[in-house]
Amino acid sequence: MSYLEALRGALGEANVLEEPVELHLFSKDASLLRGQANVVVFPQDADQVSEVVKIAEAHKVPIVARGAGTGLTAGASPTEGGIVVVTTAIDSIEIDLENRSAWVGAGVINLDLSAAAAPHGLHFAPDPSSQSACTIGGNVANNSGGPHCLAEGSTTSHVLGLEVVLAGGEIVRLGGNAPDPIGLDLKGLIVGSEGTLGIVTKALVRLLPLDPDVRTMLLAFPTVESAATTVSQVISAGMVPAALELMDQRMVQAVENWLQAGLPVDAAAVLLAEVVGETEGVEAEAEIIADLGRANGATSVEVARDETHRATLWKGRKSAFGAIAQLAPDYYLHDAVVPRTRLVETMSAVYEIADRYDLTMLNVFHAGDGNLHPLVAFDASDPETNRKVHEAGDEIVAICLKNGGALSGEHGIGIEKRDMMRTTFTELDLDAQARLKEAVDPSGVFNPSKVLPAGSRCFDFGGVRRKELPEGVWV
């Protein structure tokens, strides 16, 4: 029996897609790199995922987990072919009010979880910009961040337990509501593993109380440096605002063109700052941020009038990547983190690199935690531009690392950042990670070729061998 027949038998024909056009639509995520799925399946629960894993192992076929396909590093791209396992049908939410937590299906949309928790005065803190679309499974796989992770920490700080399907189709539950589970923190191993160790089907997540009060403000600056300096000074003033987001002029203009919200398009940079807590506290903190901004030359300081205005400001920030389409059909972004103290000089260097390569560069990023998202808008169908984007990208990463930074803040490694892992890790580090992968996934079917560059181990992974990337693709 072929693995396709086996999958149809296990999941029913309605949950197995095989038409070429259908497979084409699941062959990439929101990044640039396209793979080629052999089949797409929609398991309804962990038992069915377990069946899929057993079939994949028996036939030595790769399995790639996918939620909403909003990932930015090709983590859900089936670059080695195989079975794309879409988790959107696993979408239950069970809220545990006493423990302020919830068991959530991997396919639940991030914002839907917060909407379900809101009537109880609770929310799920990690808020990636794609939170209206992205799924909890993807958040766990990439240890996703978001503007509000400045104060609250990224996904891993909010995962208490996991239901995971491992090699052999074994379904395990790791962690739980207990504050300090005994033994090794195995759930910590799975969070951020990008589907290379198993497939997460449910997560037990922490729910935080909604903030009693909030002030959201937009500060316009004459230079990117003055905005970045303000960020450093806010933090050194002893505050940890809920969010501190920076957008440069090109980005603001693209967003405003769509949003029509009266954003300051003449400013070289805008800072979106949010403080939360009790009313007296937020008023005092908002005042300090406004003062620091003005001291650094802010040309305007606008405080959100009401919840609608606040939602509009955030909508602008969180739709930024999509707005790039107005400038060019493709974009490539980096996700490097630098220490806040090096923010100003790193930003200047990044702009200098873009200018030197004559590339359209935009910046929209989590300034508060130094998580840059320098982004190049370009047309990927032009090979010469592709080459320039590639070289400029390498330089950008190099300068971030040189300034004491890290490769990725929150988007994951996938394939797009994979070969840059060597810039951060030694051969020994990579070998240790490869051994771990091998121990948990002996047959090598789970999202092969992702995260760890080829040759991390002195011999190849189990059954699935890495293929060369298609022509014209760069990582």
Binding site: V21, A133, Y331
Partner: protein
């Protein structure tokens, strides 16, 4: 084979999508299935694949697009400004041209019935008799949502087609009578004439007009849609404002090149008159009323406040049922073409109305109205916002000053 017509989605239209995925959660069919193949991003991706020669325009491709409601909820959330509705019409025109068995059916439905007054009258007479004799219970299941959602067709006064009247101090309005609108929803058209004339407009309903062409365009009959559009552009070129009383029609008029910004939905025209003080505001508190947003009003035209202001001017307190305004599943001929999905969405919308505890509903589009009535049953009263408004004015004794 790729694209073969001049209507096809252009590279520019498709390149405007960077596949960020923000359209997924607002798409009713993605919400129903959780599948990329049923999402706006997926459909655009498939269109791009046709343009690149990777995918053929065949039955499978057609199936992906058939499942789309055309509600355009994806457009207002798209930061890349992808003209999804236009791309969809283009792709459907290609399907009509390239996929065997689809072309004839569409032409027969769109040009012969919708473009002909006589055919519409005859069909409506048949429905009216059927309604009177209780025969509509016998309609095949696929059509029953339509027949059970119809208004009572008897005693509705004269058609508005050919009407001309009003002072004109606030400008001249050309009213699009619509195809089924003037037959099945005649009271809405008559109310529109009354209110616009009260507001100081001269209202004319020129006989030279025809169907707006929306249903034809949505079904891939681009040729017929262009013919309809051309005829209407000529019929309406001399008016200050061209108004349609069905959101589906006004959205389509707004896309006519020849009319430009003169096209408006009736809710916009009436709300403007209320704001200007040309139409009165009732002081009576009439209690709560559910407001349902037709997709082609809210998503396609971004008209959200106007119907609410009209209800408020009538003394009602609008009750919101759905913050994202997911489609009710009517979507033109969707009830017949995709009965299962339409049924689920209709039930969802009806549940939202029921959980509000309010039995009066305002809806500014005939398709939505029928779907709501059919799913809600006789205990609920569904009408156009301008009908609720005029009825309130008449109750106040201010109906015809």
């Amino acid at each position: 084979m790729g694209w073969v017509t001049t209507e096809h989605p252009t590279r520019e239209e498709l390149d405007a999508c960077v596949q960020c995925g923000l359209c997924l959660p607002v798409c009713p069919t993605f919400r129903l299935t959780g599948r990329e193949t049923a999402s706006p991003r997926g459909r655009l991706h498939a269109m791009s694949a046709v343009g690149e020669g990777v995918v053929e325009v065949d039955e499978v491709f057609a199936g992906l697009l058939d499942f789309c409601l055309g509600c355009r909820a994806c457009e207002p959330v798209c930061p890349g400004l992808v003209p999804y509705g236009r791309a969809l019409e283009g792709a459907r025109a290609e399907i009509a041209e390239q996929v065997p068995g689809r072309k004839r059916l569409r032409r027969w439905q769109t040009t012969t019935i919708l473009g002909s007054r006589a055919a519409l009258r005859l069909g409506s007479l048949g429905l009216r008799i059927g309604q009177k004799l209780g025969l509509l219970r016998l309609t095949p299941a696929r059509y029953r949502r339509i027949t059970s959602g119809l208004r009572k067709l008897g005693g509705r006064g004269q058609p508005t087609l050919g009407h001309a009247g009003g002072s004109g101090e606030a400008g001249t309005v050309g009213l699009l009578a619509g195809c089924v609108q003037d037959e099945w929803f005649r009271p809405v058209n008559r109310t529109a004439v009354t209110l616009l004339e009260m507001a100081g407009h001269r209202v004319e309903v020129p006989r030279s007009q025809t169907c707006c062409g929306a249903l034809a365009a949505h079904d891939g009959k681009a040729g017929a849609a262009h013919v309809f559009a051309g005829q209407n552009e000529e019929a309406f070129e001399r008016y200050d404002m061209v108004v349609a009383t069905a959101a589906g029609c006004s959205a389509h008029l707004a896309g006519y090149e020849g009319l430009g910004s003169s096209a408006a939905d009736i809710t916009v025209a009436v709300a403007r008159a209320i704001d200007d003080g040309r139409l009165p505001v009732s002081e009576v508190d009439r209690g709560e009323m559910v407001i349902q947003d037709p997709c082609h009003l809210r998503h396609a035209q971004r008209v959200v406040d106007e119907p609410r202001r009209i209800l408020e001017a009538a003394g009602f307190r609008p009750v919101e049922i759905d913050p994202v305004a997911l489609c009710c599943g009517a979507a033109g001929v969707y009830t017949m073409a995709q009965p299962e999905a339409s049924e689920t969405l209709g039930n969802q919308k009806a549940d939202q109305v029921r959980s509000s505890g309010v039995t009066r509903v305002a809806s500014a589009n005939p398709g939505c109205e029928m779907q709501l009535r059919s799913h809600l049953g006789d205990d609920y009263e569904v009408a156009h916002p301008i009908e609720w408004y005029l009825a309130a004015l008449e109750e106040d004794g201010r109906g015809d000053d």
